[in-house]
Symmetry: C2
Subunit: 421 residues, 2 copies
């Protein structure tokens, strides 16, 4: 492992590795879920940690931008934005340890995509060390620039296989006012999409987050967090946790919820009365991944389908799991406003054979996703663990284009070899 | 010229051209300003018009998306969105004749970038005919997808040199409520940035458009449109035309303007009282490019600088023009909220020698833009007319990367040869 402290040092490492034919695996906070930042078992790959490149190089509130080195922790980037009364809207569970370079090289998603877009959309410019050790200085801080191909787009989301991001110029957003947070109980997951439509008709783009949570998630969390309890007395089946922001007064949100309650679309609701109550509701959501762990083996799927087809997809997925693994327990939650769900399936209690049978269930679920023209990787990338899925579900033409890019930009296959493509 | 009516016909044309070694120039509405859609003078290039591929293939309001063929007029895409009570937010002067394929292949900008981003940000998926005639079917309609390299990003903004876009899946936005439109007179162009800051502190992201207009623009428009007149009795120097949207009541905008008036930041203001008044104000803005024409030779610069440096840039640019061409008349307008200005310079009355001297002035202005770390092409692309600027102002590493992409995706240089790079 090497841990260079500057762009020039990264370039130096890449040059030396090129000379000796060694592959390089760039690593940020190592929080990825698909093994994209982990060397193979050959013992011949150089692990390049960006952790020491952790300076915020400059902050320009007048331009609503800042320049951060790749090794900056995401939470530190958010804090640097907050210091000048702005917000860096990328937000995800690992924000306390993931690094911005990793976020960009995987095009991370998270909670606020519905309003602000993926990591890609937060980028104004990049500094990248290329496969031959040259440095591309593309740290422009412009909101509009059509001077030739937009090269940064090629490196964002390429998981370190086309170049090593060493710094990024990032867009800042105005700091949002305190949101109105609510948790609404619904009977059917498909109703979440209907509820989103109703909210949007009154508050067109005032929804910052819109998360679906299945009842079983609350069970797990209540068991995992000593002081947490199920939010609703009844077991309606599903809930939506949402933030609505500035220009939104509580009254308007309350009115929408009341009308949905009248129609039976919403069966119960909790409107947070203050920041602490809002944080309490969000804590239930954030704790889900952790609460899954002690419950047994959990088969995970980071899937996405077009939002309008989500209700039908969920119905068919439920039937599929019931047919193939009647005793398994789907733990479904995620960013329903973007069509992205973490469709996880927990093993039947005591049935450790599930782990082996899991591949079949996964494959059937991914086939279903494909039928709905969805994706088997909405926000977690490919890394190594999803390479086979990429080969299965994407066309030969598409794979060929990816190989063409890889060969063009890294002809000797030095950058994160064996990942993505 | 060929005008195929389907993707397969486009692929057929490309295959035949490849066999015969002919270059292909894709053309949409031919409204580009840099000659990107115009064949060279060799007589050996095939002009491929996308005009007959003008179907909206599907509209999915549940997913807030639609699929349009490349030859759809932008205004028709907007209309298809409006029919399902949504908005397609890309908006520019040529929207009545430019085509969506051209908008995407040039990554068009326009009036609403400040809120919605460039054309690139409106795209969910693409269908592209590649240099060898194969079709990449990438028309996914997903908001999140990290399954491998995001190939659409490579084709967007590449001006038809890497592939021919034949259809696009586009994001729709909620239909915004009627905006509050106002025209504010200011003394100094730099004050526009300060005014934007003040507005944003009260209405963080409620600004849909924020256009700077110099006094001289109003003179030209008043001369050009028989029924238009100068909006202000005084000649303050500059004005800002802005739209603020939903969640905004007039009262809040009025309060900001009143406080700015108190400080001397705003010297006069017109708040549109209804839709007709708002349209009247916007008509003044839209008429500027046309009003320039009869006034004489006009040297045009589509430039961008970081927003926070705009005030200083404008001061230095003014001094520069005054020094080099004291009698020339800067006609400055544009999307100041994005740091993008159309910094045009009209010939001194009766001085036709200006046309020849223009190149020197342009070069000096572009040097100034470079000093401010800006761009010589914020939203008009490269085409042929800006190729030399690209070579001058972008690094060898950057140009090398662009050539690498071009060679990888179009090894025989068949697609829009001689453009961009």
């Amino acid at each position: 492992m090497v841990a260079p402290a500057s762009t020039q040092e990264v370039a130096g490492v890449v040059t030396v590795c090129a000379r000796h034919g060694a592959g390089i695996v760039p690593q940020g906070g190592n929080t990825g879920l698909c093994g994209g930042a982990v060397p193979d078992l050959s013992g011949e790959q150089v692990l390049l940690s960006l952790s020491r490149m952790n300076r915020i190089r400059r902050v320009d509130p007048g331009n609503d931008s800042l320049v951060a080195e790749a090794g900056c922790i995401l939470a530190d980037v958010q804090a640097a934005a907050a210091e000048v009364d702005r917000c860096f809207p990328l937000s995800l569970a690992a924000e306390g340890s993931c690094q911005i370079g990793g976020n960009l090289s995987t095009n991370a998603g998270g909670l606020n995509v519905i309003r602000y877009g993926m990591a890609r959309q937060q980028v104004l410019g990049l500094e990248v060390v290329l496969a031959d050790g040259t440095v591309w200085e593309g740290l422009r801080e412009l909101r509009k620039d059509t001077a030739g191909y937009d090269l940064k787009q090629v490196f964002i989301g390429s998981e370190g296989t086309l170049g090593i991001i060493t710094a990024a110029a990032l867009k800042l957003a105005p700091k949002p006012a305190n949101p109105v947070t609510f948790l609404a109980a619904i009977r059917d997951a498909g109703d979440a999409v209907a509820l989103l439509g109703r909210l949007r008709s009154v508050l067109p783009d005032r929804i910052d987050a819109f998360e679906l949570i299945s009842d079983r998630c609350f069970d797990l969390v209540a068991r995992h967090l000593p002081d947490a309890r199920r939010p609703f007395a009844e077991r309606p089946g599903w809930a939506v946790l949402a933030d609505a922001v500035e220009g939104t007064d509580e009254g308007r949100v309350e009115a929408v919820l009341a009308s949905c309650f009248g129609d039976g679309l919403v069966v119960d609701a909790i409107l947070a009365k203050n920041k602490a109550e809002a944080a309490g509701l969000w804590r239930l959501r954030h704790a889900i991944p952790e609460a899954e762990r002690p419950a047994g083996y959990c088969l995970k799927h980071d899937i996405g389908v077009p939002v309008g087809r989500l209700a039908r997809f969920l119905a068919e997925a439920k039937a599929l799991v019931a047919r193939l693994e009647p005793d398994a327990r789907p733990i479904v939650f995620g960013h329903v406003g973007d069509g992205n769900l973490h469709y996880n399936v927990l093993q039947p209690a005591g049935d450790d054979g599930f782990r082996e049978r899991g591949a079949d269930l996964s494959r059937s679920l991914y086939d279903l996703v494909a039928k709905f023209e969805g994706t088997f990787s909405a926000e977690h990338g490919i890394g190594v663990t999803k390479k086979e899925l990429l080969r299965t579900y994407r066309s030969e033409v598409e794979l060929g284009l990816m190989r063409t890019l890889k060969t063009a930009l890294d002809p000797d296959n030095r950058l994160n070899p064996g990942k993505v493509i």
